[in-house]
Symmetry: C2
Subunit: 140 residues, 2 copies
DNA sequence: CGTGAACTGGTAACGGTTTTCATCTGCAGC
DNA sequence: GCTGCAGATGAAAACCGTTACCAGTTCACG
């Protein structure tokens, strides 16, 4: 009742591999990226299967997906299953989950003001995290 | 000095066609959509050229581009060249330009709070506009 | 064990976008 | 008005992330 998982019926080596790798990652990662790392570390999973599990996780609500400006899909395991947004470092990709009451209220108000209903919204904040701005300059 | 146009060096029939069609459109439109309408109305432009002009306009800052969830790029001529966001109807695509002081403040604050600098953000609000929710039901 | 539904993964297809390159054209300079 | 040519065009091919297809594999259950 509590977990509205639309997950797979069986637990497989591949499914566990994808899910746990994403869980161990700190930021958004692409399917191909995950696939490459799995292959590199020995326990390989087909690219198709990586996509399948990521899609299941997104459907289940435990993973967020977003599109980069050049059309690539990025996935991230979210600690909080409730509605929230991300503050992402443009350098290292690390993401912090943030909730924004102010934004929720604003979105609702601006929509109502223009006669819109069934409002939904997407908010992404990108910047350079403290660690990266203190770290080595992007020389080469 | 005022216009920081990174536009093309020459004025061509094709460039004018793309720009004015987008100008006459009320919401976000895809490159293929624009290409199809130009072809339909007789004054045809190569798809490649449509993409090229849209890219120039985006670079010049007079046009906004966003990605749909399935990776398609959508373009819109913005009336306001200053920073703003859009309230888009998920049914008819009509977009209203809105500025959100509350969101700007929130984004800055939440970033500062987590030690992030050089903050940027994207905010999109989608809903059903008054006209569409009053109009014909999405039957067939 | 035996059966079948779920799962896997190589390969092919898909679709939007970009690159390539031969051809064309706006326009600055005569 | 011409001419020259850098800039622009567009059909076709390449690109690339993603999805569909489908034959083979795995696993829960009787
Ligand atoms: Mn929100
Ligand atoms: Mn803003
Ligand atoms: Zn960082
Ligand atoms: Zn509408």
């Amino acid at each position: 009742m509590t977990t509205a998982r639309a997950g797979r019926a069986r637990s497989t080596r591949q499914g566990v591999a994808v899910e746990s790798l994403l869980e161990a990652s700190s930021g958004f990662r692409s399917a191909q990226d995950l696939h490459a790392e799995l292959r590199r570390r020995g326990d390989a999973v087909g690219l198709t299967t990586v996509y399948r599990h990521l899609q299941s996780l997104v459907d289940g609500g435990s993973v967020d997906m977003l599109r980069t400006v050049d059309g690539e899909a990025l996935y991230r395991q979210c600690a909080d299953s409730r509605h929230h947004h991300h503050l992402v470092c443009r350098r290292c990709g690390t993401a912090v989950e943030v909730s924004g009451q102010a934004v929720e209220r604003w979105a609702g108000a601006v929509a109502r003001e223009h006669g819109f209903t069934d409002v939904d919204h997407t908010v992404e904040v990108v910047g350079t995290c403290g660690e990266c701005s203190a770290g080595p300059a992007p020389s080469s």
